[in-house]
């Protein structure tokens, strides 16, 4: 017999999970195409939410314009990130160098450095405390469906997530740029040999991934009512966990694992304090890495 409380937690967990999923996709896309982890992905999420807040305080536009603003800033941030933290390390074009350990370490460190700079600058500009989102925009209106209570924000999260996931699938399967992304993810050298502009594809991947992350950040801000500059770190790591659990190169796997993660977290938080909920993701991470190096759904990358 289904405990209503438990089902409620499930729903809450799913909405958190969808947020992680949106971010996890960004990670997976970038990892697929460049074989590097983008440590600054969490900051893009933060940028989306702050961009939204700034547009709200500046000229109070309707909600969907706020979303567009977040999208735009996310795309810009993604582009900037790629140019600054990743491109300078692709000095050598041959396969061996691209996948070399030194290059990957360098990009890991450089994206890490950039994420620190962005986060600290944001803290200087906005202060490290929580910034409240104006009342009118909050999506906390409760909606009763049967015995369950939802916030309308959760509907937005579900709707937006599914729309974006669907949009991404369409993009990857039905458009040329999507084909280019899949090709480069599969074999960068081969892709360039058949005339695909790998540089542009990489940029496009960053932009797409970052847009998803930025929108996720905005929606979370609207749903939770307050944002702060360091908000990107934890979801970033959790999205990474989802990606690893899902097998590194599988978008579907990452999404499923993100949902699992979200639900586990919600359940843990309701039984223990908030702090222990965060622990869940990290424990999952370590367990997955140690016992399931190819991800829960297999097909992960072998060692290079």
């Amino acid at each position: 017999m289904f405990d209503i409380f438990f089902v409620q937690q499930l729903v809450n967990g799913l909405s958190v999970g969808f947020i992680y999923a949106l971010m996890a996709i960004g990670f997976t896309l970038i990892f697929g195409v460049l074989n590097v982890v983008n440590f600054a992905h969490g900051e893009v999420y933060m940028i989306g939410s702050f961009a939204g807040l700034m547009s709200i305080t500046a000229f109070a536009p309707p909600l969907f314009v706020v979303i567009l603003v977040a999208l735009a800033f996310g795309a810009l941030a993604g582009f900037g990130l790629e140019r600054i933290a990743f491109r300078p390390f692709r000095r050598f074009r041959d396969e061996a160098s691209l996948k070399s350990k030194a290059v990957r370490e360098a990009t890991l460190l450089s994206s890490l450095a950039i994420s620190i700079i962005v986060r600290e600058l944001a803290e200087k500009i906005f202060g490290s405390n929580m910034q409240a989102i104006p009342q009118e925009y909050l999506l906390l209106t409760p909606v009763q469906i049967g015995p369950l209570t939802f916030a309308n924000g959760q509907f937005l999260i579900f709707g937006l997530s599914i729309a974006m996931l669907g949009g991404l699938q369409w993009l990857l399967k039905r458009t040329r740029i999507g084909l280019a992304i899949r090709a480069v993810a599969n074999n960068p050298m081969g892709a360039s040999y058949v005339g695909i502009n790998t540089e542009r594809t990489i940029i496009a991947t960053f932009i797409i991934g970052s847009t998803l992350g930025a929108v996720a950040g905005l929606v979370v801000g609207l749903y939770q009512g307050a944002i702060f500059p360091a908000m990107g770190f934890a979801p970033g790591v959790k999205a990474f966990v989802a990606m690893v659990m899902g097998g590194l190169s599988s978008i579907g796997g990452a999404v499923v694992c993100a949902l699992i993660l979200g639900v586990s977290e919600a359940v843990t938080t309701s039984f223990f304090a908030q702090g222990w909920g965060d622990l869940v993701a990290y424990v999952f991470l370590v367990i997955t890495l140690v016992f399931f190096p190819t991800g829960l759904f297999g097909g992960g990358r072998e060692r290079v």
Partner: protein
């Protein structure tokens, strides 16, 4: 002979010249700054062993630093152990944790290992934060006794300076022996190409675990020193950003080079002190410096290759023809 002179000068600097200078400039505050540098130098050297020399990128080193600090703090405040006991205890407990946690992760490579250490570091931090019954959580542990010798001298800033300096020099000696030896070559082989190293007969798993163990021992020692010299610790001292700070220090100094690690620590700690107006932007500076170093000085300021060459020429072998190629240990 040349070697002895160089070492002698360095020791003179650390134990006589510098304290004299700092006393003249006003004591107190500056002693605390250099004590911090000393603690971080030990921490950085330990991180250098595992990340720079062995190539295991650890993003959770602050967690082990924290285990050391809390071990010392709890032993001192709850069981009233003296500093001379808490220090080695902290080192050993941290080393034990390090080995335990390293065992399952040795199979992991590159980015996977890095992220696993990030996860471990966060797990440690969150546990310190939330296990309020044991660690007092965010309130931290206060009133940790300073470093003093019963009846001989009480805790003081200058006393702390000397204690840290002595331990830092001792740590440098030990870590130096490990790094600048054939054993160091074995670790470097693990870094360069661990599959190939195994094919050449090296027990790579054992080397990784040993390296992690030693590094964690010294991280624990650094933690104990931090606890005793500052008197108060809280989980906030041991977050991810501290791990990144340490990482930045070894990148700036030169991955794999021991003197580089110390230099990196000095630079990244002095910078915010010297450039007071930007002191608040410490982490931004750290991030920026790290980024610029990776971009323009991938070998860091005192890169491993030149440092090893210098060390060998001065302190290395002299077996006839192989005059400056091999190691004495």
């Amino acid at each position: 002979m040349r070697r002895n002179i160089a070492v002698g000068i360095l020791l003179l600097l650390v134990f006589v010249a510098l304290p004299g200078l700092l006393s003249a400039v006003g004591g107190g505050y500056w002693f605390r700054v250099t004590t911090t540098i000393g603690v971080f130098a030990i921490l950085t050297m330990s991180a250098n062993l595992v990340t720079g020399t062995t190539g295991l990128m650890s993003l959770g080193h602050a967690g082990f630093y924290g285990i050391g600090a809390y071990t010392a703090a709890l032993l001192a405040t709850k069981l009233h152990w003296p500093f001379l006991l808490t220090l080695p205890a902290a080192g050993l407990v941290t080393a034990a944790f390090g080995i335990l946690l390293a065992l399952p992760t040795t199979r992991l490579i590159g980015i996977h290992f890095a992220v696993a250490t990030l996860g471990l570091g966060e797990i440690i931090h969150l546990t310190l934060l939330n296990w309020v019954g044991f660690t007092r959580g965010p309130m931290g542990i206060s009133a940790i006794p300073g470093i003093s010798l019963e009846g001989l001298f009480p805790a003081s800033d200058i006393g702390h300076y000397y204690a840290v300096a002595i331990i830092a020099v001792a740590s440098a000696l030990v870590l130096g022996r490990l790094t600048h030896s054939y054993y160091g070559n074995a670790l470097r082989a693990v870094r360069e190409d661990d599959q190939c190293a195994a094919a050449m007969g090296l027990d790579v798993v054992r080397l990784k675990i040993q390296s992690f163990g030693f590094a964690c021992f010294f991280a624990g020692v650094a933690g104990a020193l931090w606890a005793h010299t500052t008197g108060y610790i809280s989980p906030a001292d041991f977050r991810f950003s501290e791990s990144i700070l340490v990482l930045a220090m070894i990148v700036v100094g030169g991955l794999g080079s021991l003197p580089g690690a110390v230099l990196g620590a000095v630079i990244l700690l002095i910078l915010p002190e010297v450039l007071r107006p930007i002191g608040d932007y410490r982490m931004v500076v750290v991030g920026a410096v790290m980024f610029l170093c990776i971009l323009f000085l991938p070998r860091g300021l005192l890169g491993e290759t030149p440092v090893l060459a210098i060390l060998r020429r001065q302190f290395g072998l002299a077996w006839d023809r192989t005059k400056h190629l091999g190691w004495r240990q």
